[in-house]
């Protein structure tokens, strides 16, 4: 529908449909349920008209001299057909247009195109991996001739491996240019190109080098034929061997739908979903190739119990009985407050709900926190407040249409690859302008995307946000920003100039960025881990809320801010109250009236006292105050801000229960280890960064000895005397839908394939809150280099290490230094460097990278073997001293 809602009527093969003006004939045909074949056209790419397979006859009503349609004898308007067939994928519909797809003229034209497409196409379907799901095969069957008039030899090219992911067989290529255009306009990588011209056109990488790109495999996905195929899936199966299940990717908060192909009980591939999900055909490299861990032979298959010395396998019942008995003893001796529950950001919401219910309603402890990486206490509702307090949220699709987007602090390539792709598409196709605030020149900050890069000093995010908010306020209050609004307190005492001094960004650049944001009618502010795990996260998030109001990104009725949580279901963890101060649905735990709904439903009082947050639990456990820890889906030794402290906590706790897929270092330190199901083995609901509820489905049978987390939690709760009787995740969700604000009234059945985005009713959004204190100024930089870290594309979390492809793509972990900085400290490319902080030191190979600012060192997180938390609890910003400890030669491969 266009702005004034008018629609145009088109008649396609006698069926009349109403579509928005500007719709292409092929899309209108889909609406009319008439099949018009396509190869080169793609919903996310502008029309090209390269392949001509979509030819149809197009006509308009004949107009008489009076500009009125001429009527034929039967009263129907006479149609003036265009003399030649037209490509439907490039022809926009007009009101009254008539289209014929099945006339002899159209059919003959299509057969002719088909014959030309097959002139050079090899007859190697039996060995081609696309066979069975190839559009050319299907259309040749439907429209093509069953003989060839081609006598000459077909032209041939060498096949090539373009890196570890893409296999190219150019003989099969029909030069539709989808791959080249997708890589350019959506991935922003320009990694593919067409060599030669005419019949010798060949798609390949530049200089025929292995592709230096995101390795997303989307070129393979969009290739309508078998010219590009995926090497990891090469010759593994045929589509008819696979049971295909659409579920949700576990690797980031974007929540892409993935179609898993399962043969036997093994996942053989993952693909996009074409017409479903937030992502449709898109998947990043992790979503597409990161499923390997599910099939891993190293998965835990039996519970482990440590009674005395070593861990030994036990039956599920033994493990449940033991865990329950020990928990009961510890509660009896030390009180319920000596038990803490950690982790859970990767679970489904049903499991998260049960996890906190076990803690609060069965054990009776308030110490629950999923955000094990935080270095400081952050209110459980801080992120929801910063993203508009539960007002209707923006969607990932809205990003494409935004005019101005501010990306705060994070490298979206690692944190939210799909969101990055949406921004790149918006930039290419719709004139989106990017403002990227990042210490490093990350991909989105590259000049080719035409945005502005705000390179602030390490750790000065709060100053930057406060200055941006001030600059936005200078432009006049946006609608809804009342002069006395409490959010103003967060930026009190700040001016643009003060922010400029603290961040090192010129005040003009800050003012210009704020002006762009303020002026845009469609805008977005995106942030992630760099904000949520900042040492000053609590006040920083309030400052972001202030920026939202000041720039008009938050209004009374909606909010255009999006937070990318560190894990696939981090949003669910917040929603389900895996925070010490909030019950599910952001009900304040300390508010006796508000929590009544849960007291009634769970049958106990929830006057549990103040809960400890994750960093406080860490400190308390290390000091011996917490006696029992239950950690789910989290390798705490790797995620806790201080590894030595976490090790001490694990060693001194009387009981450590861990639910895990693999024997992680944390699981090794546990007294009870429950083997848990992987994402593809259980059903449930996950919530993505848009706050969209999406159902995951079970693609694989449960492995022997492995149970989904909800069952483990229920078994222990029952052993502790709770009367839980959930038959499945659906039962739990029903309880959630009854009780939890924001989730009320949702029905499990409607969450497939693409559920709704939840929001509070307008009168129920979180009340604004007076900021505790304005964001504090940054402490003066100390000695040494600022340690920058962040997500990278190829690895995310412990599970991604368990396959073979992703670690190979990620290469060995390295410390990235600016060449000038490296020269200053005498380090060459590939030398071994030691990074030392007061808490400890780590050693890595150095790599020179001009995108890292001088005076800092970048170490990607989530790589196996990089244990940044060995450096001790992070200050703001963490600082290290780098020293060369070995030459390149001494470094093992």
């Amino acid at each position: 529908m266009n702005a004034n809602g008018t629609k145009v009527r088109v008649t396609i093969d006698g069926r009349t449909v109403e579509v928005a003006p500007g719709t292409l004939v092929t899309d209108a045909a889909r609406a009319a349920e008439v099949h018009v074949p396509i190869f080169c056209s793609h919903a996310k790419l502008p029309p090209l008209g390269a392949c001509r397979i979509c030819v149809v006859e197009v006509g308009m009503p004949k107009l008489g001299p009076d500009r009125k349609p001429v009527l034929a004898a039967d009263g129907a308007p006479e149609i003036a057909w265009m003399p030649k067939v037209q490509t439907g994928c490039t022809t926009p519909v007009l009101d009254g247009m008539h289209v014929r797809t099945a006339t002899p003229v159209a059919v003959k034209a299509r057969q002719g195109v088909m014959e030309f497409l097959l002139v050079n196409h090899p007859l190697d379907c039996p060995v081609c991996d696309e066979g069975g799901e190839c559009q050319l095969q299907d259309l040749a069957f439907a429209f093509g001739a069953d003989f060839t008039r081609m006598d000459e030899a077909k032209r041939t090219f060498e096949s090539e491996d373009l890196g570890p992911v893409v296999k190219k067989e150019a003989n099969r290529c029909i030069i539709c240019m989808r791959c080249v255009r997708y890589c350019d306009e959506i991935m922003g990588d320009d990694a593919l190109t067409a060599h030669q011209r005419g019949v010798w056109t060949e798609i390949s990488s530049f200089d025929r080098q292995p592709l230096d790109c995101e390795q997303c495999g989307n070129c393979v996905e969009v290739c309508p034929v078998g010219a590009l195929t995926a090497l990891p899936y090469r010759f593994k199966a045929r589509p008819w061997d696979l049971r295909q299940h659409v579920t949700i990717c576990p690797y980031c908060s974007n929540g892409c739908s993935v179609r898993l192909g399962v043969r036997g009980n093994e996942v053989l591939r993952a693909r996009g979903t074409e017409h479903r999900g937030v992502n449709q055909e898109y998947l990043c490299v992790r979503g597409r190739f990161g499923y390997e861990f599910v099939n891993s032979a190293e998965r835990l298959t039996a519970p482990l119990l440590r009674m005395g010395g070593a861990q030994s396998p036990a039956s599920f019942d033994e493990a449940v009985t033991y865990a329950a008995a020990r928990l009961r003893e510890i509660v009896a001796v030390h009180g319920a407050g000596s038990v803490a529950f950690l982790g859970g950001e990767k679970l489904n919401v049903e499991e998260q709900y049960l996890f906190q219910k076990l803690a609060r309603a069965v054990i009776g402890t308030p110490h629950v926190d999923a955000r094990t990486r935080s270095t400081a206490r952050v209110p459980g509702d801080a992120i929801l407040r910063a993203t508009g307090g539960g007002r209707p949220a923006m969607s990932l699709d809205d990003l494409v249409d935004a005019q101005e987007v501010l990306v705060l602090g994070d490298d979206l390539q690692g944190e939210a690859p799909f969101a990055q792709a949406q921004l790149i598409r918006g930039q290419h196709q719709r004139g989106l302008h990017l403002t990227v605030a990042n210490q490093r020149r990350v991909k989105l900050a590259r000049t080719k995307f035409g945005g502005d890069w705000l390179a602030y000093r390490p750790g000065s995010e709060p100053a930057l946000v406060a200055a941006l908010a001030r600059a936005a306020l200078e432009l006049g209050d946006a609608a809804g920003a009342a002069p006395a609004a409490p959010w103003r307190a967060a930026i009190e005492g700040w001016t643009v100039e003060k922010g400029a001094a603290a961040t090192g960004i010129p005040a003009d650049a800050i003012r210009a960025a704020a002006k762009r944001l303020h002026a845009a009618s469609r805008k977005a502010i995106l942030f992630g881990r760099a904000v949520a795990e900042h040492p000053q996260a609590a006040s920083l998030l309030e400052a972001i809320e202030a920026l939202g109001w000041a720039s008009g990104a938050i209004t009374e009725s909606r909010a255009a801010l999006m937070s990318f949580g560190p894990q696939s279901d981090s949003q669910g963890a917040l929603d389900m109250g895996l925070t010490p101060d909030c019950l599910p649905g952001y009900v304040p735990a300390a508010d006796a009236a508000a929590r009544g709904r849960y007291e009634q439903a769970w049958g106990r009082t929830l006057d549990l006292g103040a809960g400890l947050s994750a960093p406080e639990i860490l400190a308390a456990a290390a000091a011996g105050g917490i006696k029992a820890l239950w950690i789910v889906a989290d390798d705490w030794l790797a995620s806790a801000p201080d590894r030595a402290m976490a090790a001490k906590a694990l060693a001194s706790a009387e009981l450590v229960v861990v639910n895990e897929l693999f024997l992680t270092p944390t699981a090794r330190a546990a007294h009870v280890v429950f083997p848990a199901s992987a994402f593809a083995e259980k059903e449930g609901v996950v919530v993505n960064c848009e706050r969209r509820l999406q159902r995951t489905v079970r693609a694989l049978a449960w492995r022997k000895g492995v149970k989904p987390d909800w069952e483990i939690l229920q078994a222990v709760a029952q052993a502790l005397g709770a009367a839980w009787s959930y038959r499945g995740a659906e039962d739990v969700f029903r309880e959630i839908a009854k009780l939890v604000p924001g989730y009320q009234g949702r029905s499990w059945a409607t969450l497939l394939p693409l559920g709704p985005q939840w929001s509070f009713a307008a009168n129920a959004v979180l009340p604004e809150r007076r900021a505790a204190a304005a964001v504090a100024e940054l402490a003066r930089a100390g000695e040494g280099l600022a340690l920058l870290s962040g997500a990278t594309l190829f690895l995310q979390g412990g599970l991604s290490h368990r396959g073979t492809l992703l670690p190979k793509l990620a290469k060995a972990p390295r410390a990235f230094l600016h060449p000038a900085e490296a020269a200053r400290i005498g380090v060459g490319d590939g030398d071994r460097v030691s990074l030392a902080a007061p808490g400890g030191a780590i050693e890595l190979d150095a790599a020179l990278d001009p995108s890292v600012p001088e005076g800092s060192v970048f170490v990607p997180q989530a790589q196996a073997g990089v244990e940044l938390n060995r450096l001790g609890a992070a200050g703001a910003p963490p600082r290290v001293t780098a020293r060369r400890v070995g030459a390149r030669e001494t470094v093992g491969a």
Binding site: D124, P126, V127, G131, F235, A237, D241
Partner: protein, 148 residues
């Protein structure tokens, strides 16, 4: 009544002196018709390489879901078949097979044929899963294709 008896005995005597239809199996064996469909074989090219490329068309054509194929990529210096792909595993479950010949019809490579062997009884269920070793003809039969 007497007439009928003579008629009946007439038939008996007539058959007594006819050549018998039955054969003394297993001492005596019948030659099968050319298009008889018995146990499958996997054939070889003249150069000894396997014809089967592991395309799985036989598996998808099979109405009894009796065929399992797992393909793999040929080693360039030691290929098993022409082209890049070959069947790493090729199994037919003869307990399921209904000898319809659809696999033979589906095969684009003339790789699978239903041959004349029909003595398939065995003591063990597992023995009815015929593996590639059992189905593939020996190198001496390279280039052999059954007459059709």
């Amino acid at each position: 009544m007497f007439k009928e008896m003579v008629q009946g005995l007439g038939v008996t005597f007539e058959n007594l002196f006819k050549k018998p239809f039955t054969v003394q199996y297993p001492e005596e064996q019948l030659t099968m018709f050319p298009r008889f469909r018995g146990l499958h074989i996997l054939t070889r090219h003249e150069d000894g390489l396997e014809r089967c490329v592991g395309c799985e068309l036989c598996a998808v054509a099979c109405p009894a879901d009796a065929i399992f194929v797992e393909a793999a990529e040929n080693e360039p210096d030691a290929p098993q078949s022409h082209g890049e792909r070959y069947a790493k595993r090729y199994e037919i479950n003869m307990l399921r097979c209904i000898f319809c010949g659809m696999c033979e019809e589906a095969c684009p490579e003339d790789a699978i044929y239903l041959e004349k062997k029909f003595e398939l009884a065995d003591y063990d269920r597992d023995a009815f899963i015929y593996t590639k070793d059992e189905l593939l003809v020996g190198p001496e039969q390279s280039g052999y294709l059954p007459a059709r």
